[in-house]
Symmetry: C2
Subunit: 341 residues, 2 copies
């Protein structure tokens, strides 16, 4: 039985989208799991009542698996990360995360201010030994299966040893949440050869290639990402610093817009394009785990639809049930050990 | 009158594609311009004769504007950059570039080994004062007009002052070759705010924002690139280090492949997609100038088609006729001056 805390106040369309997402999730979650809606009780109550009044009986039947946890403060999208820690100690983020520390919850999911969620998660859940910062593992749609790209924005200046840690974090995420045993880990660079790359990438490559215990397949280039493949086979995890990862992620999200525009101008029907592009929709992939914290904190896109929130909740459940955080701790402690306990 | 030296031996499809590209270019170049085919005379002669024998009379008529310049050695795609300088002093690259130094040619164009071309160009043409390395300015197709991204691969570890130099180089390229007066220059980062980015980006932002004389519009994010626009208006030049630029470039080249696959699976006709994607084809944009050398060296894609070679030659002509290299020298010398002489 897992208890998933959802930041009901987080995201551009909260609490409408978050509560609708919770109701969607209840239809898919096995009946032993419950969802904790964290935020202003009156706002949540009003929205929940309105949605339930309009819902099908099958949805209403599941509402007993929702609880409301009061949090008086809300972190705005424009708040600085530090606000999450010092300025608003009773925010829905802080309260939701503290539930985990207090043994009252198993995962936290939010579509709110990402910087604030990172800061609050690091401060409240704390990091596994050996880490200086958490990393965000984002799924990039590919022609094969989605590829984990990390870090995708938490760390803009990365040392070689941080890149090596990302490889370890990504390996556990791919194994535990995506169910890919012995995932293929690659380093993003400007050429396949080990001597290609910036200083941090070259040094991290050397460390990973010399007995890291990971299934390290070497460097991949930008062109391999959309394929999910390189010359040496499939790729599951791609390691890069958070500057590169963030630029790529935002670029990737915007390219379909450009291409849809070109296709529509070229006379292709919008419906046909939409159907083909379903797999590129970030909503289908749910949230991105903040990796390295002692616990589960799932970051959803600020624009998350109810479908995206639901998928974020499912990612939170898988991370919790697979004991991803414990495995990350063991993998980091083992250092060079090949497989997680 | 301009004399464009073409590396007849450079590229995956040389000399077939290079000579076909030269013949195509002659149809478009005003009659006073000539093309110098640099490479093994016998190989060039044989291929040229074969192509001319099969060509239309209009093409054959222009063949008098082609000359062959003997170069006994060929740089392979797998050769190390140093080979271009020390190992093969009589390569088509070295010979073609020396023509410029000797006042016998006005531009050099190659689809050969990029690392070797950079090394040979830097060694033979030399850099303008104040530069430590050249930068590659690549055009990224966008929903508006193509955006210059630099550096796109020459420099993987960049200091803030190198990023500032890229802004100056890119401004002259956009003005002289693309004909965009007072181009809008942006810094690629992970957020719009000046305090977002890695250490080099933040420092370069400060320098550019405080009296660089350029039309610096601040940071853009990955999502702004495919649009060619940010919240503050159109973007002409995007500055980044060569690691980020190269990863993005290769990623961008590969995304359409993924999307075409999805569309075809979704039942959209291939012909319709092809027509819509014409603007995304790198061949339409020709070569990327190696910026910062004293002279003109145009880098074409190794897979260049005759059309791409032709466009590379046209870029070389524009760079030469606009005196781009002189303007770069003046802009660098002026340092903080706003407009090139």
């Amino acid at each position: 039985m897992a208890r998933i805390a959802l930041d009901a106040m987080g995201g551009d369309h909260a609490p409408t989208a978050t509560i609708a997402g919770a109701l969607l999730a209840l239809q898919e979650l096995p009946p032993e799991h419950v969802i904790q809606l964290v935020g202003r009780t009156d706002a949540i109550r009003a929205e929940l009542d309105a949605q339930l009044a309009a819902a099908l009986p099958a949805v209403r039947e599941q509402a007993g698996r929702l609880t409301i946890v009061e949090a008086a403060e809300v972190i705005e999208m424009t708040d600085k990360p530090s606000v999450a820690i010092r300025g608003k100690p009773n925010s829905s983020m802080a309260v939701g995360l503290r539930l985990q520390v207090d043994g009252q919850s198993d995962a936290f999911v939010s579509a709110g201010n990402t910087g604030a969620q990172m800061a609050a998660s690091t401060f409240i859940l704390r990091l596994h030994d050996g880490l200086t910062r958490p990393a965000i593992g984002t799924l990039f749609p590919s022609a094969r299966v989605p590829v984990v790209v990390l870090d995708s924005g938490a760390n803009v200046d990365c040392s070689a040893s941080e890149l090596v840690q990302f490889a370890r974090l990504g390996a556990v995420y791919a194994e535990d949440v995506l169910g890919r045993p012995n995932p293929a880990i690659a380093m993003l660079s400007v050429g396949e050869e080990p001597e290609k790359g910036n200083a941090a990438v070259k040094e991290a490559h050397r460390e990973l290639a010399s007995g890291s215990g990971l299934n390290f397949i070497g460097n991949v280039e930008g062109r391999d990402l959309p394929m999910g493949m390189c010359d040496r086979g499939p790729v599951d995890v791609v390691v890069c610093d958070g500057f590169v990862g963030n630029v790529l992620l935002k670029f990737y999200e915007a390219v379909p817009k450009l291409i849809v525009g070109l296709l529509v101008k070229g006379g292709v029907a919008k419906e046909q394009i939409g159907a083909a592009f379903t797999g590129l929709d970030y909503a289908a992939h749910g949230g991105a785990p903040l990796l390295g914290v002692k616990g589960v904190s799932i970051i959803c896109h600020g624009k998350s639809s109810p479908e995206a929130i639901k998928n974020g909740i499912l990612v939170g459940l898988r991370a919790s049930q697979s004991r991803m955080s414990d495995h990350i701790g063991q993998r980091l402690a083992a250092g060079i050990q090949g497989t997680p306990a």
